[in-house]
Each structure stands twice: as structure tokens, then as C-alpha cells.
Subunit: 256 residues, 6 copies
Amino acid sequence: MTTDRVKTGIEGFDEMLGGGYIPQTANLIEGAPGTGKTTLGMQFIYNGIVKFNEPGLIITFEEFPHQYYHNAASFGWDFNQLEKEGLLKIIMTSPEVTRQDLENVGGIIETQVAQMGVRRVLVDSMTHFERLTQNATDLRQIEYSFINALKREGLTCLLTKESPALLGDAPEGDSEIAFVVDSYAILRYVEIDSAISKAALILKMRGSDHAKEIRQYEIDPQAGFQLKSKFEGQEGILSGNPSRSKVDAFDKAFIE
Amino acid sequence: MTTDRVKTGIEGFDEMLGGGYIPQTANLIEGAPGTGKTTLGMQFIYNGIVKFNEPGLIITFEEFPHQYYHNAASFGWDFNQLEKEGLLKIIMTSPEVTRQDLENVGGIIETQVAQMGVRRVLVDSMTHFERLTQNATDLRQIEYSFINALKREGLTCLLTKESPALLGDAPEGDSEIAFVVDSYAILRYVEIDSAISKAALILKMRGSDHAKEIRQYEIDPQAGFQLKSKFEGQEGILSGNPSRSKVDAFDKAFIE
Amino acid sequence: MTTDRVKTGIEGFDEMLGGGYIPQTANLIEGAPGTGKTTLGMQFIYNGIVKFNEPGLIITFEEFPHQYYHNAASFGWDFNQLEKEGLLKIIMTSPEVTRQDLENVGGIIETQVAQMGVRRVLVDSMTHFERLTQNATDLRQIEYSFINALKREGLTCLLTKESPALLGDAPEGDSEIAFVVDSYAILRYVEIDSAISKAALILKMRGSDHAKEIRQYEIDPQAGFQLKSKFEGQEGILSGNPSRSKVDAFDKAFIE
Amino acid sequence: MTTDRVKTGIEGFDEMLGGGYIPQTANLIEGAPGTGKTTLGMQFIYNGIVKFNEPGLIITFEEFPHQYYHNAASFGWDFNQLEKEGLLKIIMTSPEVTRQDLENVGGIIETQVAQMGVRRVLVDSMTHFERLTQNATDLRQIEYSFINALKREGLTCLLTKESPALLGDAPEGDSEIAFVVDSYAILRYVEIDSAISKAALILKMRGSDHAKEIRQYEIDPQAGFQLKSKFEGQEGILSGNPSRSKVDAFDKAFIE
Amino acid sequence: MTTDRVKTGIEGFDEMLGGGYIPQTANLIEGAPGTGKTTLGMQFIYNGIVKFNEPGLIITFEEFPHQYYHNAASFGWDFNQLEKEGLLKIIMTSPEVTRQDLENVGGIIETQVAQMGVRRVLVDSMTHFERLTQNATDLRQIEYSFINALKREGLTCLLTKESPALLGDAPEGDSEIAFVVDSYAILRYVEIDSAISKAALILKMRGSDHAKEIRQYEIDPQAGFQLKSKFEGQEGILSGNPSRSKVDAFDKAFIE
Amino acid sequence: MTTDRVKTGIEGFDEMLGGGYIPQTANLIEGAPGTGKTTLGMQFIYNGIVKFNEPGLIITFEEFPHQYYHNAASFGWDFNQLEKEGLLKIIMTSPEVTRQDLENVGGIIETQVAQMGVRRVLVDSMTHFERLTQNATDLRQIEYSFINALKREGLTCLLTKESPALLGDAPEGDSEIAFVVDSYAILRYVEIDSAISKAALILKMRGSDHAKEIRQYEIDPQAGFQLKSKFEGQEGILSGNPSRSKVDAFDKAFIE
């Protein structure tokens, strides 16, 4: 069953996803600044090209392509070269232009997909769609249409979303996009033992089983997104300020 | 007494409902993204058809019918075939159109109910009614009229509602629909032992006894909504960040 | 002193009220959906008629009379028959109409009271007055005038009020009606031992002593509102997420 | 030094105030519905008349005089008779009218003070001034002028203020009146041992020492406001949801 | 180094400030009603005159000068006499007038400083500047200009600021003035052992070391602001609802 | 690899940054009033000049240059002299002017950089950009353009940002600037043992590993920003109100 999954190529993360993403789905990654959303997205695209022979597209609404070259290069990924080889395309555009492009026959994205054989797309980030409207219902319809247009092109989509809260959840569900995507992963800062760890969790995955555990991860300056072991003996990890669970604390104090 | 209940056919869940839903009632299921509201609703419709010989209707305000075919198929439920056999009808529409349709004699829904003998309806989701008005009082009257119109057609209704908060309650009661429905169930994410569990609870059920306990459940990729055992030794489950209760913690640490 | 009280006829609840409500007072019952506000109100009216020979009036701003017949019937209370016998009157109206009616000599309510000898009234619910104005001061004056008009008719009033928060208090005091009523009771959901209990508390009662303890209760599908014993060994019940008190936890763990 | 204090005549409360209120000061009592603000105020006026020979004035912005007669009578205080004897005057008015009255020479209040020899005034409640303006700065100036006008008449003022939160503090300081009064007492609900207690605290008292401890009190249906002992072994009383302090809990569990 | 400090003359407080305030700086004191901001300010001015021979100025935006005479007299400080001797000047004005006065050559404040040799100024309170504008940026510029104008006159400034929260921090940083002053002290209510203590803390002091510890203090009816010992064995003092720290609690329970 | 880093010259802090800042990056320092943002920034500029021979620029939107001279002098840094030597330039300007200046060829900043060979810039503070627009999306684009313009000049940027909350996180992510910078450090007040400590943490650093631990620091009146050891045995440091972790507390109480 996992043979037809779209693998991220990130050890452990594909296992959390039950083998990888399901083809032609929209997959959301949400996190605070510095949690590695874009790194995870770049790695999804890079591994797609070099490990699974699937050309990729990056749609960016803020950062210039050279910033991606620069950031990718620090992990040893030569995005500039891949683009020259016709395996990667980075498009800097705006949500407005992208929407219209996808509605037209023969738009840029459709053309790239046809010519390059693009299979994966990173949209960095969905947060920029919020500039299009103040109305939550309109925003949801725009995002839903956009996502479906990408899926109709045959693409497996990784969508990043910025979380406004540093620790724990955002104070209110500021976007309803989590309801319309096919999978939803959250990246969180967690304070443990007077240091900051990072936690990854798959909250939702339509049509597939997935891991329920909260896993530690690091952004390795060489290797990128690296999953570590599950957290142990902590309560309230997703609040960002966990405390050692009582049973574990007693064990540590009296038995060990 | 339970003989005339409208059973969901989900083991354990009917028992929580005191035997099943009461005929011609409106029953609300509320949950965050990925908690399985739609899966529970589809299962209510599917089991109605194949186990209890009750044709069903799905009214959707966002997802296309093929998305339901796709999602249902992953659980082994052939919605496409059921629709061909005249046992299921999926109507993609808008809250505006549906309201008017129900006010007219001979509207689409009334016609379907008459022709197909529909007994159950899934409305996915009530959250889309919020686009009709910014006024909470108007919204409540619209929702109340809509629900009563469905009940007058003789339908037992399962209504989904999206919760904007990932963990715990929504920061404010963003809709008053819970006051006008006949039963109200909530689905919640719960962090326990560094992993995410799911919790189901029946909060309200007019004219019937119902289970008061908070039960674990899973969305099984083959079988759908599956109830598990009651939570044990936890305090604050509905907050999403429970802690092991002190008595239980002492027992675990010193006695076990 | 308790001989002239207006008894609810609910075992234990009258004791909490120091013998029952004081005649010609306005008494508020506030609770979240499913806590049994309306059931308590119907029982106050029903017991008034059948146990204390006091005809009753129900003023509803949303539900149809047949919904009350239906709900009451599930408890074995034949409201339809009582209405035929001239002992009960259910008036479905609007806050606007009711205000005007009470200001006129010979209005409907005044007439009903005179003809039927009505002594008790249930207003279900005061929350609907909030549609009349966005201004908190105006709302308060409207509610105060309405309550006084009912009291001038010689009625003992039970007023329901919806609480927008599922667990614990509403985030802000969304209505000032609690300041103008004569008594104020709150109904709350409480999570204990991984299940949901219900808690009742009399917070305020002008001109009378009343119970200060927080009591458990259930909505029995046959008997209606049923008071149970006081909570024991819990801290923070009214927050909805209590924890076992430390002393009690130590006792349970080490001594029992 | 305490000889020239304006005593409330409430045992224990005068001691908390360092002997009583200071003459010609404005003294604020804030509390949630049912905490007994008005009872305390009536008792201040009643005791002034019958124990200390100081005629009193009650300015009310909502309740009718007969409501005060009624409420006072339940404590055995015959306000109607005192008014006939010229020792008490209850004026039902509006904040607007009162402001203007105090600005005029020979206004009603000034006249009453001169004719009756009024020494004490209860203003019930300052919350109604909030209807005069939406602007916090304007409100403060209005309240400050009003208070000073009363003080210039030689009156010792007890001002009630409604707290919008049932338990704990109001979510924001909704009025700045606490900064301009001479003393500030708060009345709070406190949940202890699964019951509701009431707590009184003097937070501020210009020009005098005062008790810092948080005292329990009850509203006795015969005697009115009655101070009880200090709370013991509790942390977080003013939050409304205190917990037994750890030291006290250990003592109770292991030593007692 | 401490020789050229502007001493408050309050025992312990000058030590917390590293010897006293630095000359020609703006120093903020923030606190809830009753925490003694104005008392501390009056003491700073009074001690300046009688202990350090530095004439003082009090700028008030609300209270009349006689209120300061009255309040000061209760501590035994004869402000009326000091004003007659030309050592103190109390100016009751408005933020608008004060701003203009400071911009003009030969304004009242400049004149007073020149004639009296004023060295210290108390501004009571900065909160009244908030009436000048709803715009946070404009407010900040106004406050910054005002503060600099006072400093250019050679004055060492003590500025009071009202905190809208009774316990703990204000829900949001309602003013940015803390960023523009040279030192920032906060006064807080703290509930400990079922009583209310007061806590003082120096949070910021440009160009100087200062105490980091949280100290208890009292407003003594004779002596004014009196520093007491550091808090001990408490966690979360600044939240207003501290709890005894676990280590301390264990020690108390088992060892003492 | 660390040889080409832009060192702050602050012992320990460069190690936290994996050797120092990366050249031509924008680096954010966020903190409450008094946490030492500006001191850290001045030290970055001062050390750049005297230790690493890199001329520096300070762009200030509020404080006058002489205030920087004064503040720097208290640490023994002679900014006035450095400016005379052409190694430092302090520009007091507005966000509006700075934006335009950077868009023009031959603007002041460009000219200074060319003439002085400026390598480092301190922008104090980015918070003042918020006055330019109420629209979060516009603000983000303005800030992003500004930052990129500075980076195009070849500068390594240290940007300060004011945090509106005294303890813990700001209630909402009031600015999205953290998403667009290359590194993000936060400075926090932390209450421990009844005193206020300060905590520094690097949350994000693009293209580099960095320390994850939360370190104590002090603002030394002679030496400026001084890193201390890691916190130990505390939970919830970033909340500002940590508690001793249970394991640590047990150890302290029973074993030590």
C-alpha cells in the first residue's frame, strides 16, 4: 500500500505519514518562525528530484529565488543547478496572480507542469493569501479553489502556514485552511529542561493511518529536517510549557 | 425502548446514545480538523443504507461529491454504487439555496425524500451557515428554521460543526446552534503520554438517557470511527492537556 | 417561614432554596446547552400545577409549543392535557411583543393570569432579549422592566439564561441580568474521573438563606431534574476541570 | 484616633477599616451579583441612624424605594418608618439628574442634607454612570466630580460597584473609579471544599492603616453582613478557585 | 559613585536603586489602586526638601492641591507650610496645558524651576496623557517629548502610572512609556497566607546596577512607604497568586 | 566555518550563535523594557569597531544621539569619540525617511556605507515601523523591503523589537517580522527565588546551527551584556513564572 505514496525521503517522517503523502493531495505544515517549515518543504522538493525522480515546483510569495538557492545551499542542495537541468522551477509571484494563472488554460503553472513533468509543489506560504480578503468565508473559498486547482494538475502539494504564537496554539483559529487540506502537521517549540526542543505531530491524514505520537526533531545544518525519538514522561507538550509527569517524576526521584 | 432508535451502526456509539439517535431529531457533532466528523457522518449514512435499509442524503456546502466517493472508498464504502442504486444522494449546494429549497413545496430535497424514501441526512457542515450573516441572532433563527424544515421531512439529521480550537474548547461560544439541536456530541484531541488521542463525549440528548463518560476513539483507515475504552486516571481531558490524577499517579509510583 | 414559599417540588432543590422560591420574585437559572435549564423550568411549572394547584404559564421565544409537549411527554408530563384543562398556557411570542403586551392594560398575559389564575411563569429564555439591542445599558433596563411587569402580575418567575461557555464561566459577564434578579442559580458541566457530571449551585437569593454547597444532579429521562449528593474532595469544580484536592488524594493513596 | 471614625456598626468590619471609615470620604465596595454589596450599604445607613444617630441618604439608579423597604424588612430594618421619621431618605433618580442636582445651589440633595442633617450616603450603584459615556476618561472625570460634590456636602459615602466576573477578577479594569476613591473593598466568591464561601478584603484606605487579611463573611438572613474568621491554608483565594496550600495539605494528611 | 545620586530618603529603596535615582532622569512607578504610588512620590518630594535641601514640584492632573495637603498631613508632612516657604509647589493642570507650557520660553514650570531652584518633580499620573490621543504612536511621542522637556529643566522626575489589573500584569502593554523612561519600578499586590502583601521590584535602570530581588513593603500610616524583607519560598509572586515553592513546602512539612 | 562570522564579541553569545552572526543577514532581538536590547545592540556595534575593525551605523527612530553617547559612556564606550574618528555614525531619523533614503541611489545610508566602510548596523527599534500602517500585510512588506535594502548594502543588521508583555509571550503575534529575519533571539524576564532574572534564547538561525538552551544573563553596569550559565531545574522559564521541576524539588528536599 505504501508503494504508491509520495515519499518525503525524510527518515521517520514518511513512517509517521504511513509511508508518505498520498498522491494529488494538499498537505499543510504549520509552525512558528524558525520551526523549519520551509526547510521541510525544500527537502520534500529536493528529495523528490534526486531520490524519486519527480520534478518539483516552488511557489513563493515573499522570498526571492536566490534566497532559496542560498538557504538550500547551506544544506548542500544545489537548487540553482537543478533549475538549470529543468528539474526544479522556483516561481516568485503573488496570490492574486497565481489564482488567475490557475484559472486560465495554458497558464504558467500548467505549462511548467506539462513541460517539466512536475509532480510536487511547495507553496510558501499560504499565510500570504490572508492579504486577499478580510472575510474568513471568502478566504476559505479562495484557498479551497487554489488547492483544488493544484490537485487537478496532478500535483502533490506541501503548503506551509505560519503560526502567530511562539509557544502553544494560536489564540484563535485564525484560518480555516486546516479543514480543507488532506493532511495537517504541526511543528511546535517545546521548553524542556531549560532548553528549546522542537516537536512534530501529524494531526490529520485523510484516507490513511498515521502516527499519533509527538516526535522530537531538529533542523540539522547539514542534513535538514531530522526526526528524533518520541518525547517521554512529559505532560502538555503541545502547550509549549510541558511538565514532567508525576509518575515519571516519582520514578526519577525515588527509584532511579 | 431502543427498538425505535435510529442506529448509527457504530459499535459502542449507539450504546452511548442510549440505543441510537431518536427519530426525526437534529444531532450535532462538533470537532477540530481531523477529528473525524465527516467520517462519522458518512458512516451514519452508509450503515443506514446497508445495515438498516434506510436511504440517505448528504448535503455538502464545500466538498465535491467525488471527494466523498474518494474518502468513502478508502473505508471500503462504495458511495458511487449506492447512488446509482438510488439509495444515496449527495447534493452539493449552498446554504442559501438549501434554505429556499426547503421553503418551497416540491423542492429538490422534498422530492428526493419522497422518491427515494430518504430517512437520514448528513449536513456537512453547519459552519458554512455562518457566511449568511454576521448577526448571531439572525444566524440562530436561520439554523433553527433549517433544522426544523429537515425534521418536518421526517429525517433524522446528523449535523457537523467545525471547532476553531485545536485543543480544548473554543475561546468563545461562536455559535448558538448547540442550544437548538436535540443532541450534541463533541470530539476532542487529547494529549496523553506524548501522543495525541481522540475523545468523544455526548453532552446533551433530549428525551433520552445517554452515557456521561468520555471515551477514546480512533479513525481506523479500514473500519472508520471506532470507539475504545473510557479514559482512566486523567484529569482535565476536555482541556486537551490532561494530567494524570494524583491518586492514580501515587498508585502507579508506589504500589504497582 | 417556609410555608409561604413557592416550591419547585424537586426534592433537595427546594431545600437548597431555603424552602422554595419567594413569591413574586424573578429567579434566574443559567447553564450551557444540555444542562437542563428548560427541564428544570418545565418541572417548576408542572409540579406547580399537579402538586401545588398553581396554574402556570410558559413564554417561549424560539421553540414551538408542540416541542414542549414532546419534551414534557418524555418525562411523563402531559402538557397538552393540562393546557386543555386550563391549567397551563404556552405562549410562543417574541421579546418585542411580550414587552408591549405587558405595558398594555388587558394584554394577553394579564388576561391569562386573570382568567386562569396563573401563579408561575417560565420564560425560556432571557437570552433572546439580547436581540433587541446592542447596548448593555438599554438591555438591562428592558430586562428589568420586563421582570418587574411579570412580578406586578403576582407571578413567581423562573427565567432561563444560556451560558456561552461549555466548561467554566463565560469569558466575560455578557449580561447584567444577574444583578437585577432576586435569585441566581448556575448549572455547570464538571469533568470528574473521565466523565461529565453536572453541578448546581445557588449563588444569590435575596431575603433568604440558601445552601452554599455545590451539588451534583442528573437529568433523569423519567423523573427530570434530580439532585444528588454534594461533591467531595474536589477543588475548582466551577472551573469545569476540577482536580482532586491534595488532602483527599493523599488519603486515598496512602490510607484507604 | 478611632473616635472620629464613621463606624459601619458591623462587628469586625470596622476593625478591618482601622476603626471605621474616615469622615467625608468616598468608599467603594465592589462585588459580583449576590455578594451583598447593597446589604452592606443598607446596613451602613441603618446602623448610622439607629446606632450612631446619623441620618442617611440612599441614592438609587435602578431599584424602586419599595424594593429597599422590602429587602431591608427581611433583615428586620424598617426603612419605611425611618423615612417617615425623617432619618432616612431614598431617592430614585438617574446619574444625569444627580450630577446636575449637585451642581446647583439648593439642589435636592443639598436641601435634604441641610434639612435632615444627613451624614451618610449610599450610592447604589456607580456602575450606572457607565451609561453616560463610552469614553473612559470622560467617565472618570464625571465620577470624580460626583464623588467630590458628595464629599463637599460633608457626607461619608459608600459606593457600590458591580463586578462583571463571577469568580476572580474582571478580565480588565473596566472602570478607573478605584483610583479616585478613598477606600476600596472587594467582595469575592470563593470555592472551597465543594461549596461557595464569600471573601472580603480592604485593598486600599487613604490616610489609615487597615487589615490586610482576607476574611470570610456571610449574608445572614436576619443580621445581614457578618464577618467570620480569616481563611486558613488556602492559596489563590482571590482567583475564586483556591487550592489548599502544600504545607497545609501535608500537615492534614500526615500529621493530623 | 552613589554620592551624586538623587536619594528618595526611603530606607532600603535607595539601596535597591543602587544608591538613588540618577540626576535628570525620568523614573516610572507603576501600580494598581492602593499600592502607594502617590505616597512614594510625595515622600520622594518631601524627603528631597527636608533631608536633601532640594525644592520640589508636584504636577497633578486630577487631585486638588488640598487633597495632597490632606494626604501628606496624615503622614505628618506639612505640604501647606512647605509651599508657603517656597520649597514646594503643587500645580494642578492638564496634560494639554503642561505640554504647551514646557514648549514656551518662560513658561510656568520653567519659571518655578528658576525661581525656587526646583530639583525634583512628581507627575501624578502619566495615565492622564492617554486622554490626549487614541493613537499609541502619537501618545508615545507626546510622552517622550514631555519627559525630555522636564529633564532639560534639570529635574529628576518621578512619574506614576496606574495599572488597570488588580493582581498580576495588565492583560496587554497598554502604554509604551516603560520603553522611554530611564528607570521602571512596579508595585504589585500579592496574596500570601490568605492576606494581601505588597511587592516592589526595580525592573529597569539605565546606566546603573540595581537590586533584582522582589521586596515586600507596607504603606505605614505614620511613616509612609516602608520596605520590608525579600519574599522567601514563593513562586510566581508577580502573578499576584504565588504558591509556596515545592522545596520550601517539603522542608516546612517534614523538616521543621 | 566560524571564521567568516560577524562576531558580537560578547563572550558566550557568539558561541550560542554558532560562532557569530552570518554576514549580510538581518538579526532580530526582542525583549520587554529593561531587558537590554539596546545595550546588546550598542555592544555589537562597539565591539565591531574596536575588536574587529568594522565601522558601524546606528539608526534610531526615537532617542537622540546624545542619549546613546550617554548610555554608552556608562559602560565606558566613547561613542562620541568613535563618531569623530569616522568609525561610527548615529542617524536619528524616521521610518518614512529611511525607507525613501534606501530606495534612492546615493542616499545618506548608502553614502555613509561607501565613505566609512560600514559593515554593521543597529536599527533601534523596528517597533517604530508599526506607525506607518495599520495593515499587517503592508507592514510586513515594508519591513521586508527595508531589511533587504540594508542587506544589499552589505550590512549585517541587528534589529531590536519591543515586546509589549512584561512576563512571558505577547498575547498575540503582533508583528510578523520574526518570519522574515534570518535569526531571532528573545530576551525575557524570569521570576526565580523571589527575584527577577533575565533569560536569552536563540529561537531561529537560518543556515547555521545554534544553541538551544536558555541562558541567564545580566546587564553589567560596567561590561554590558554578560551571559551566565544555563538555567537548571526549572520548568516554564519562557512563561516568566517558572516552577522548580518536580524531580529537582524532590532531590533538593530529600537527598541534598
